[in-house]
């Protein structure tokens, strides 16, 4: 073996070719690298690259569980039809532990060894480690965090959630339905997930005429004792305490502390994963009226006309049967992305990443889980790769999460976009401010 063959770099063509040949695609490998179907007995493999262990696992593992249900249902219904041939779908998971180095290793394994046709990620800190792999291979990746998007990455899309922009719908609903609440404070972990969310809530509160009584309290992600954080939050006697996009490992102890320190006001948060456990640790009365953004899919509103997530109520029931007590914010999101990917692959008649992406984004609109949406994002992310439409506002009533309204993100942005850009820029979160 000479030096050249030992070290030479891979082009997108040869990369996808090697992936396909590894997966046993035979004739579809190096001769036709554009056709990257990883066909092993007509099996399409999809990569799942997210934290399955560690503090961020709550936003990875339930998503993989949801995907397994999705795959079982799709396969039972005949699989994915590519060019007239039915293919079954299989998920290949890799635990990146929310570490960019391990994410890079995982992406390499999924693409070059497992021959996946599409990779779903949580994103965040892990995306920069994967970005060079995406650039080299041309593989289509999805993220749940649109703040990963930039014009530098043409093959990254955010088709499920526009975190944190949808948080504006919760604040808008709160201002409309509880106009007597006029002051707020906020806390967040000081990281890539917390800061853009802080900027979004600040914009939403300003747009709603709610006054911030203090600067957002940013705590270190290594924090375990939240008593001082909560004491400081409560010290100004605010009407509203906002928990931003705290991980569930923070939301739970913060709520416990709020309960123990006698807080009686309104709480608003991006997520309330495993809220039943929070209720057990506090009380039903304490959690009454808690506002967040992620519905249980047994909600009757999830079967309403315009909702594109198929059989949402049955999905929730099946999820809880297989994984009791594990339903969380991301349980449905990766499965919803797969609905979009499946439709696009069937339209394209191919699993080639470029062809699927083109089919998915055709016409600038797409069928998001919560309704028709548009591919958007140039203003904030430098590229229209985020699928944006309506988003639910969820309130805990009598110990159960219920959708109270569907808020329109595009409508809010049309009226208040400049505010959001102002706060995003102040926190260095605009795409062109990223180092």
């Amino acid at each position: 073996m000479n030096v050249k063959t030992l070290f030479k770099g891979l082009s997108r063509r040869s990369f996808l070719g090697s992936a396909a040949s590894v997966a046993g695609a035979g004739a579809l490998s190096s001769s036709f690298p554009g056709m990257a179907i990883a066909a092993e007995d007509n099996v399409i493999k999809i990569g799942f690259l997210a934290p399955l262990t560690g503090p961020v696992a709550a936003w990875g593992k339930p998503g993989l569980d949801g995907c397994e249900i999705w795959a079982d249902w799709v396969n039972a219904a005949g699989g994915i039809n590519i060019g007239g041939t039915a293919h079954t779908v299989e998920f290949v998971g890799y635990d990146n532990e929310y570490d960019p180095g391990k994410a890079r290793t995982g992406a390499t394994k999924l693409i070059r060894e497992d021959g996946v046709s599409f990779v779903m990620m949580l994103g965040g800190d892990t995306w920069p480690g994967v970005e060079p792999v995406a650039d080299k291979t041309g593989m289509l990746f999805s993220t749940l965090l649109p703040s990963d998007l930039s014009p530098d990455s043409e093959t990254l899309i955010a088709p499920a959630e526009v975190h944190p922009v949808y948080n504006v719908t919760g604040v808008e609903w709160l201002a409309k339905n509880k106009p007597e609440l006029k002051t707020a404070v906020m806390c967040a972990q000081d990281d890539a997930l917390g800061l853009p969310s802080v900027a979004t809530y600040l914009a939403a509160f300003e747009a709603a005429g709610i006054t911030m009584q203090d600067d957002p309290l940013l705590f270190d992600p290594a924090t375990t004792d939240f008593a001082p954080v909560v004491t400081r939050l409560m010290s100004t006697d605010p009407d509203i305490i906002c928990l931003d996009t705290c991980y569930s490992d923070y939301v739970h102890p913060i709520c416990e502390q709020l309960f123990q320190q006698g807080y009686k006001g309104q709480i608003i948060s991006c997520t309330a994963d495993f809220y039943d456990q929070i209720i057990e640790k506090t009380s039903k009365e304490f959690m009454e009226g808690f506002i967040f953004q992620f519905p249980d899919f047994d909600d009757p509103a999830m079967e309403a006309e315009g909702i594109n997530f198929k059989n949402a109520n049955a999905f929730f029931e099946e999820f809880n049967k297989r994984f009791p007590g594990q339903w969380g914010a991301v349980s449905w999101e990766y499965a919803a992305i797969m609905d979009l990917w499946k439709a696009a692959a069937e339209t394209a008649g191919s699993t080639d990443p470029a062809a699927v992406k083109e089919a998915m984004m055709a016409g600038g609109k797409g069928l998001h889980a919560f309704g028709e949406a548009e591919w958007w994002g140039s203003d904030l992310f430098g590229i229209d790769h985020a699928l944006v439409g309506d988003w639910p506002v969820v309130v805990i009533e009598d110990g159960k999460a219920r959708i109270k309204a569907m808020g329109s993100i595009p409508d809010w942005y049309a009226a208040n976009g400049e505010l959001l850009k102002k706060h995003m820029a102040a926190y260095g979160q605009m795409w062109d401010q990223r180092t």
Binding site: M1, N2, V3, K4, L6, F7, K8, G9, L10, L52, T53, G54, A57, K61, G93, Y94, D95, D99, P100, G101, R104, T105, G106, T108, K109, R112, E113, D125, P128, G129, E131, P132, K136, D152, D190, D191, A192, G194, L195, D220, P221, A222, G428, R434, T435
Partner: protein
């Protein structure tokens, strides 16, 4: 001659190794080589009897320095790596003034606190450190295109060879330091500090020297990491990684030069290869922890004690027992 042959076989094995591995194992191999330098540099510090909880953050100082040098000043990557190592040593030198007013447990806590200050500074100052998101799109080593030789350092095999050469040179230097008078003095500072002091050894100066040297090599390992994965953030150098470094050193043993290397290699293979291949994606932390506890309980002197026992057994076997007739004569 026998030693030369052994080293030749080891070198040939390390050169051939990546070509026997899958793509993902090649990636893991790169990280493994970098971590070997990190943990061996940590051992140099422990020679003086001090255990630090700031070593990983010092590694980060090297990573941030090297990344910023290339991103902001356009410095050639190998040069920026050396500057990263020097900066890590310099920061350690500055930290040594307050830290070496303490010893033992107090030094441990002091090193943790000072490292956290550095890590929080990276988070606090988005300019130039990138804040919580850190730095991304860090330059890799420039590709080599000379005639038939084409080397793309994005490829794990190419970067592995580069890292292997750097780490091998560093390990040789660290070995030479330990076997020199300076290294012997480090041991004396640890085991016979009063006697050493009575003999005119400036304990603080030698502790500082070990701290600075260990930190420089840790900084270099950080620079190697940054230019491979292309991104770093404050969480890349948090206490979790420090716990891994401690674990590698403790499970491997620190009495010998190869002990921490053994710990790093065995535990990384176990965690990243064996348990993943066995399908224990989510059970890995649990099993890893159980194996670690087991090894501490049943191998208190570390994995290196197994090697020592094996070598002793080999020596006994290779030394022929004295024949009874000759003995009586």
């Amino acid at each position: 001659m026998r030693n030369f042959l052994i080293w030749l076989i080891v070198a040939a094995g390390l050169i051939a190794l990546p070509h026997t591995l899958s793509f993902s194992l090649q990636e893991i191999l790169v990280f493994l080589v970098i971590n070997v330098l990190l943990v061996v540099s940590y051992r140099l510090l422990t020679l003086t009897g001090e255990w630090s909880l700031g070593h990983v953050v010092i590694m980060g100082v090297g990573a941030y320095t090297s990344a910023l040098m290339t991103k902001r000043l356009g410095v050639y990557v190998p040069v920026s790596m050396i500057m990263g190592a020097l900066m890590a040593g310099f920061v350690a030198f500055l930290l040594s003034f307050p830290l070496f007013r303490m010893k033992g447990f107090y030094f441990l806590i002091g090193s943790f606190a000072s490292a956290e200050i550095i890590r929080l500074l990276w988070k606090r100052f988005r300019e130039p450190f990138g804040g919580p998101k850190g730095l991304k799109r860090i330059d890799s080593l420039a590709d080599i295109n000379i005639g038939p030789i084409q080397v793309d350092f994005f490829e794990p095999v190419a970067y592995y060879y580069f890292a292997l050469i750097v780490v091998a040179v560093c390990l040789w230097i660290l070995w030479r330091i330990e076997k020199s008078l300076v290294g012997l003095t480090f041991h004396a500072v640890h085991w016979q500090d009063k006697l050493a002091q009575a003999s005119g050894v400036d304990l603080r100066r030698y502790r500082t020297l070990a701290f600075v040297l260990a930190s420089s090599f840790a900084g270099l390992s950080g620079a190697l990491l940054a230019h491979y994965i292309g991104t770093i953030n404050p969480n890349s150098f948090d206490v979790e990684l420090m716990v891994f470094v401690l674990t590698w050193a403790i499970v491997g043993g620190t009495a010998t030069f190869y002990g921490p290397i053994l710990g790093c290699v065995v535990l990384t293979l176990l965690n990243e290869v064996v348990l993943r291949e066995m399908g224990f994606q989510q059970m890995r932390p649990l099993i890893y922890g159980a194996i670690m506890i087991g090894s501490i309980l049943f191998l208190p002197d570390g994995l290196e004690s197994l090697v020592k026992r094996a070598m002793a057994a080999w020596k006994r076997r290779s030394t022929p027992a004295a024949e009874p007739g000759k003995e009586s004569a």
